[in-house]
Amino acid sequence: MKRNFATAILISIILALVLGFALTSITSISVSAQNASSKPVPRLPNGKPDFTGTWDHPRVADVTKDVKGRCVGETPGCSNIGSGELAFTPVGKSDNERKDKWDYGAHCMPWGYVRSYQTPFPHGYVHHQDRLVVLWEQDNAYHVVPTDGRPLPKDLDPTWRGTSVGHWEGDTLVIETAGFNGRTWIDTAEHPHSDQLKVVERMSMPDGDHINYELTMEDPKYYTKPIKNTRVFVRMKAGQELFEYSCAENNRCEGGNCAAADVQKQGK
């Protein structure tokens, strides 16, 4: 009798430890305990979370890697759980390993959809009931996502940043994006993608200061498995807005050739 009781206690303790560990692991993937805020989630008139605001994100130069700590705009508390090693198709591998990759960004072409969220420049949202407008400081570009649940059109014109549609699953906004021209990279590490790339993002707000952002990229032409990243975005301090950005205005040393500036031509 006593032995059964002791065993039961022991099993309960072990179960409690395992459950506690599992629960804390799950929540720490989302928002780490010390960064969770008590700010309530702002709501749209229809009751859904309102993402409007200026948001900081982790610097993700390589989607395979984890990142944790300060966001690109100096806000604390961003993170990325990377995908781990990428699984290429033969075509994808050969495109990834080519020596003659053209650095489209260094020549001021549009950075791309997923990549614009990963750069040293923060982003923002203007959120209405019928659409989410994404504002990237990178390239000062915007992107409109209708959120009325319409399906992604077939036969999309290929573009740098694709075409998106969104729908709600409870309080999670699910955005599907396709119709890419395949001319961008998915990260600074120059991992390529084809025009078959499809991106799914799932966004939710655990509290008024954080967005949990899950990214899934599927590109059957280049990758044999989906590529997943899980990130935390942090709301920037009140009063912080996005800055102007212009790639072309003074792109000296473009492509590795530093043309002489006027002040360098005088006399000396």
Partner: protein, 136 residues
């Protein structure tokens, strides 16, 4: 008391190193500058271009590593990134005497990334872009 202060300071510095993205392959730094070729120029600021995509400032002086005298062009971070670090566009003024530590342009021109600026009064400003190599 001193020991815990020192420990806190050490931990803070470590945290800064850990949280700022280390030398991940950044395309334009690696394409344009050579992280193995340091440049140290002391001279006078001739011009400041506080513009995107990276600020440029020009210092007429001599590089103590190569001995080369020129109007050196230094590339640093974008205006937005610097502003969020508290570095404003008037930090460098024409006529200031500065020492700039950076890394030489790959194309052989008198240009470099300019990650660290030391003023005559000893103040230092770290102007590197997010993933430029930061001179010590």
């Amino acid at each position: 008391m001193l020991r815990s202060l020192l420990l806190s300071a050490f931990a803070f510095v470590l945290m800064l190193c850990w949280t700022t993205a280390p030398l991940v392959a950044h395309h334009s730094f690696a394409a344009e500058f050579d992280g193995n070729k340091p440049v140290k120029v002391t001279g006078v600021v001739k011009k400041v271009e506080w513009m995107n995509p990276h600020i440029w400032f020009y210092v007429e002086g001599t590089d103590e590593v190569s001995g080369r005298s020129a109007v050196w062009g230094f590339s640093a971070g974008p205006p937005a990134t610097l502003a969020r670090r508290g570095i404003k566009r008037d930090v460098l003024k024409v006529g200031d005497t500065v020492k700039v530590d950076g890394f030489l342009a790959k194309d052989g021109s008198p240009n470099a990334s300019g990650g660290k600026v030391t003023f005559a009064d000893g103040r230092q400003v770290f102007t590197a872009a997010a993933e430029d190599a930061v001179p010590k």
